[in-house]
């Protein structure tokens, strides 16, 4: 597959460690394979370290800083040999980039390793667009779609234009604006099960706005948020189908959407 010349890379084919994320591993393996094929298409040698599990964010954000730190050390050890770590989630990438140094602030042995890993960790779509200069070629999907910007990717990593720039290159895909595209969907990790009634009220409002966009598809860059919105849309009988943007970019947009049988 063709790709732009990766000028800033020291090697022509960087060794990229794919952090699949615990959610994609368990719930939506298709997303992991979409990420894998996109990275390969963008000229990377992809490794999937078997020692990876969870980035530790659920523990860290629940106040269990030690638990978060323990999983951070595991993740660092599993990935620090790679040139880059790429994650198909702004939330998990944000955890590694922005919060590992907080989780390991009191651990002088691990803090430099946390910072080194943070510096080479990227969310998938922004990595493809910004670091690899990759654009989809020959990918087609005849559908209308709207895009929700998940909060961690948006505010911790500044991801806003990259997914749209990539999706605009998909033949036949019409992107429609979403009112409140930058407003939280109410997922919030463990928040959605700790305070489910509040989370439900928030995602219901989001579902109404998604439907009002008139789009057939809901796209986003974080599986957790997408599961929350897709689950709310399905419960209210909506016909809107949800995909991770990486799946569409990898040419898998004709396959089953979130919650559809394989």
């Amino acid at each position: 597959m063709p790709h732009a010349t990766p000028a800033p890379e020291p090697r022509s084919r960087p060794r990229v460690g794919l952090f699949v994320t615990c959610l994609a591993d368990a719930i939506r393996p298709r997303l992991g394979f979409a990420a894998l094929s996109l990275l390969e298409a963008a000229g990377c040698d992809v490794e999937v370290p078997r020692a990876q599990t969870c980035c530790g964010q659920p523990a860290f954000n629940s106040g269990d800083t030690q638990g978060g730190a323990a999983l951070a050390r595991r993740t660092i050890a599993a990935f620090e040999g790679c040139d880059h770590v790429v994650v198909p989630s702004g939330s998990c990438a944000g955890m590694i980039r922005a919060h590992y140094r907080e989780a390991l602030a009191d651990d002088p042995a691990w803090l430099p390793r946390a910072e080194a890993l943070a510096a080479k960790t990227h969310e998938l779509l922004s990595f493809l667009a910004d670091y690899r200069g990759w654009r989809p070629q020959g990918v087609a999907l005849a559908a209308s779609a709207t895009y929700h910007d998940s909060c961690s990717g948006l505010r911790e990593l500044g991801i806003l234009d990259q997914p749209r720039a990539l999706l605009r290159e998909v033949d036949g895909l019409e992107l429609r604006p979403l009112t409140g595209n930058d407003v939280c969907c109410g997922f919030g990790g463990t928040f959605c099960v700790k305070y489910p009634a509040i989370s439900d009220a928030i995602v219901k409002e989001k579902a109404v706005l998604i439907e009002a966009s008139g789009a057939q598809l809901l796209l986003g860059g974080d599986l957790g948020c997408l599961m929350n919105m897709a689950g709310a849309l399905h419960r209210r009988g909506s016909a809107v189908r949800a995909f991770h943007a990486a799946e569409v970019l990898a040419g898998m947009g004709n396959g089953p959407a979130i919650g559809e049988e394989e």
Partner: protein, 467 residues
């Protein structure tokens, strides 16, 4: 986990009128703030400057407090120091008694609410007249403010109309806002003039002049502070600014962030009592400087940045949780993100346990904060303390312990998830799971997408073997 918070949340979520009221005000506030920022390209620079001003003052609070006291005293004011809310109320009541006050007027002050002054005045048998329109509404309804800028945000104008008709001596005849405001004016005007003491808060305390700045839109603060014989200011010690120029930097940030206006209708600097030759003004001017936990926050690296807060309310206007549950569910003076940080400091972490957790950490509050307070990080800090202090419910601790135990053992973890996805699939109907044991918090409200039959790691292994 049937906490008081969850009970109040359930009540709020089932109140459709409350949601209408919240949306009317917060949606407008959000829109006006956004418009104000497009007309104020220097906002980012002002935000940076405002942040530095507040950090500087907080770092040299002792210096500026003493400078303020010196200059306020020189202007003829009497400065009082209160370590906590009880002492602050005692001082205010003492001044009221000394003035022989039977009736006091009060202009909106969140610090007054924080220290429980309305209750203390009533308990002392002193008639309290709230002169801010929204505070008047809240007083008539026997409630507390639900927002720091719009205390009566939780009420629709239809509810306010009914309340005025039931309470005012000469209520409005037509259902327009102007007529309702007139009704309140008729009700309140003579009381403004007959109070012995007027009590206000402060938006800024100006150290180099000893002046107290208040900003309002109704002019009630001026009527509260000028006609009575005695004017009392209650203010948190973090309200200090070095000079007038610094106050104006923060004022520009405050007003745009709060209401989206360039300037409030009234910006008043009160400096000392009436001097010989002055046409009006109080004969006595008292300033009560209240600590109430602030010096403790100053000493706490995890909370110090909260002392930057200029009480604009933008964080709650933009908070997805506040916009669903409103202010009262927070069960404290300060709601929303800033309240979720402040309340555990003021009331104790145990009583306010839910607040720092009932947040999606989406970061919007920090983004709109005019002094860049890292609210999500401060909230996460409370969660960390809450975990260490054993305030996190056992069910959450056990769940996370089990998760961590497995996640620290990749082989066990991958076996476990492979088994778990198979078990989950037993509950699916088509591609969705509508009900599943242990997942009720999710499936009560949303469907859960059934996992694929095999995990990514399993499928990858098979692929690689097939190569």
């Amino acid at each position: 986990m049937g906490t008081v918070f969850k009970r109040d949340v359930a009540r709020a979520l089932s109140d459709a009128t409350l949601k209408t009221a919240i949306d009317r005000t917060t949606v407008t506030a959000e829109r006006k703030r956004a418009a104000a920022l497009t007309d104020y390209p220097q906002f980012a620079a002002a935000r940076e400057r405002g942040t530095r001003i507040k950090d500087h003052v907080v770092a040299h609070l002792d210096h500026y407090l003493l400078e303020f006291e010196r200059n306020a005293t020189a202007s003829g004011a009497t400065v009082h120091w209160a370590a906590d809310s009880e002492e602050a109320c005692r001082i205010v009541l003492g001044i009221c008694r000394g003035a022989g006050a039977r009736r006091v007027t009060r202009s909106k002050s969140m610090l007054g609410e924080e220290i429980g002054l309305p209750h203390a005045l009533e308990a002392a048998g002193i008639e309290r007249v709230e002169t801010d329109l929204a505070e008047h509404i809240v007083q008539l309804a026997g409630e507390t403010p639900s927002h720091i800028i719009w205390p009566a945000l939780h009420k629709t104008r239809e509810q306010v109309s009914a309340l005025f008709k039931a309470s005012h001596r000469d209520p409005h005849k037509t259902e327009d806002v102007e007529a309702m405001v007139e009704s309140a004016r008729r009700e309140l005007r003579d009381r403004f003039l007959s109070a012995e003491v007027g009590i206000s808060g402060a938006n800024f305390l100006v150290a180099d002049s000893g002046a107290v700045c208040t900003v309002t839109n109704e002019g009630n603060a001026e009527l509260t502070t000028t006609p009575p014989r005695v004017h009392i200011v209650t203010a948190g010690i973090e309200k200090l600014v070095p000079s007038l120029a610094h106050a104006f930097v923060l004022l520009r940030l405050l007003v745009r962030s709060a209401t989206g206006a360039d300037l409030t209708q009234y910006t008043t600097f009160h400096c000392g009592p009436k001097r010989p030759g002055d046409l009006d003004g109080p004969q006595e001017f008292h300033i009560v400087l209240v600590d109430n936990g602030r010096s403790r926050m100053l000493a706490d690296a995890g909370l110090r940045e909260m002392l930057r807060c200029i009480r604009c309310g933008a964080c709650m206007n933009h908070c997805v949780v506040y916009r669903q549950i409103g202010g009262h569910a927070y069960g404290a003076t300060y709601p929303g993100p800033m309240g979720a940080v402040l309340t555990p400091a003021l009331q104790g972490a145990e009583k306010a346990r839910d607040l720092p957790h009932a947040c999606t950490l989406n970061g919007r509050c920090q983004e709109v904060c005019p002094v860049g307070i890292p609210l999500p990080a401060l909230l996460r800090g409370w969660r960390d303390r809450s975990w260490k202090d054993g305030l996190v419910p056992q069910s959450v601790r056990s769940g996370l312990w089990l998760w961590r135990f497995a996640a620290e053992r990749p082989r066990l973890y991958h076996l476990g998830t492979a088994a778990a996805v198979r078990a989950m699939r037993l509950f699916r109907r088509g591609g969705w799971i509508g009900r599943m044991p242990l997942a009720g918090a999710w499936t009560r409200y949303r469907d859960f997408p059934a996992p694929a039959g095999r995990t990514f790691m399993e499928q990858l292994r098979d692929r690689e073997r097939g190569r």
